[in-house]
Symmetry: C2
Subunit: 254 residues, 2 copies
DNA sequence: AATGTCGTTGCAAATAGTGAAACGATCATG
DNA sequence: CATGATCGTTTCACTATTTGCAACGACATT
């Protein structure tokens, strides 16, 4: 692993778990030498990506991270454009709605509006959702480039619940169905007892850049809810694309 | 400069200017060799901090940045706690209010509510505000550790306008006055024609972690406005500290 | 006191990063 | 249509940065 890989890996370790971490703890979790870990951390501190408590010597993510994220949002206002639509969809459905953006490993949940109901689905911000095990992931896969889809179908499909789709064939069917309908459904593939409906958010080139999903406890879903929410979530996804790119992107044939 | 420094420097170059940048452009701006620049970028891409448009080959900041920022906000909910107070202060004063957080180089503006008035002060999100030239910076310096304050007083004090405080002695007086009053004032030190009033947001140890400021066009400020806004902004800053840390931190003697 | 763990620093060994050059591809320009 | 410039990419020998071990004092626990 290159040096920058190690540095980023430390940032991720700092992001998980407790708000602050000790040097030896980080070195252990990352598998680096104490000396190496420390030198990487001081480099990151010098650039504001990490901060250190002067008295406890504990490390935490720095404000430079927030700065980069703000600059990015200024360049590509995904949240600013999408959040109002998410809120609207949450109000319309009364269920938890979450918005995610594609990145290397999977879909990163970037905004969540939780249902007001007592029994509701909860999603952690910044969490990476697996592409094969969530409605959002399947919606994304249905409208992404062939090589990404092929990569997921070829790779391992780890099970998160007993209901997680485990074989590539079934997954391919779900993806094809989602492409045909314009939205996907997920049934307890990631969390037990949760049903979801998701639609892809398409970029200017017609390929998915993220997804929006409605997630509800299984017990609350009535006949017809799936279809109703499916239409709503697909409309919301289109709305976000239009706000971001002006007109609705042409749908790419696969 | 170490390797991680170079990598971070590329991230900052990507954050400034156009939403996407070409390899040769980045190499020139950063002063690195084309080959070096590319290798750093692919490392960053592998970890999701940078993305590349498959067809145009242009680079941009990746969703991994947003992920880290979200994880950080989950660990230390600065925005979640502060934003409502900022909105409230903006409504109360009718002027632009901005919130900033301290980092290595200066105060990073992390949230802004612009005045509804036509003639209003505008602040760029993610911008780094100089500590010696803004009301926020002086408020921060008045309640930070001695060595940080000394470092700023010792270092160069670049002028952004003809009104920027240029000598350490005057700056020290402003800082002392801010410490005595609990809030600071800034007069066209960073942007011409802008008057500001700011107060420090104190951490659990009584030292400043950021600042909140009201900024208005000079022409609109009446007698008494400074004092009124000073009291409001100081109260808002205390409110944020209390929301973040429970009780009001004890004020540290300097 | 003794033992364990912590953060920090120095050093020689080695790995990882470096820049120049060459490549084909692409895009203006004449 | 040919030319020249610029682009992104790859290779390779060289160098410098990074690395891990070991030792250190400080601290906390036993």
């Amino acid at each position: 692993m290159g040096t920058v890989g190690k540095a980023v890996s430390l940032l991720e370790k700092l992001g998980r778990g407790a708000p602050e971490a000790a040097l030896a703890d980080l070195a252990r979790r990352a598998g680096f030498d104490k000396a190496t870990t420390r030198r990487l951390l001081v480099s990151l501190i010098e650039h504001g990506l990490v901060e250190q408590d002067e008295t406890t010597r504990l490390y935490r993510l720095g404000a430079g991270i927030a700065r980069l994220a703000l600059l990015r949002e200024a360049q590509f206002p995904f949240l600013r454009m999408a959040v109002p639509v998410v809120e609207q969809l949450a109000a319309e459905t009364g269920e938890t709605v979450h918005l995610s953006e594609y990145s290397k490993r999977g879909l990163i949940s970037v905004h969540v509006v939780e249902s007001a109901k007592a029994n509701r689905v909860s999603v952690q911000l910044g969490e990476v959702l697996p592409l094969h095990a969530t409605a959002s992931g399947i919606a994304f896969l249905a409208f992404t480039e062939e090589h990404v889809r092929a990569g997921v179908l070829a790779g391992p499909l780890p099970a998160f619940t007993p209901h997680t789709i485990g074989d590539a064939e079934t997954l391919a069917e779900h993806i094809a169905a989602a492409r045909a309908r314009g939205h996907s459904t997920g049934s307890q593939g990631y969390e037990e007892g949760v049903l979801s409906v998701a639609a892809p958010i398409l970029g200017a080139d017609g390929l998915a850049i993220g997804a929006i999903a409605v997630a509800a406890p299984r017990v609350r879903i009535q006949k017809g809810d799936i279809e109703r929410h499916g239409a709503s979530v697909a409309a919301a996804a289109r709305g976000i694309s239009e706000r971001l790119f002006g007109r609705l992107p042409g749908r790419k044939q696969a």
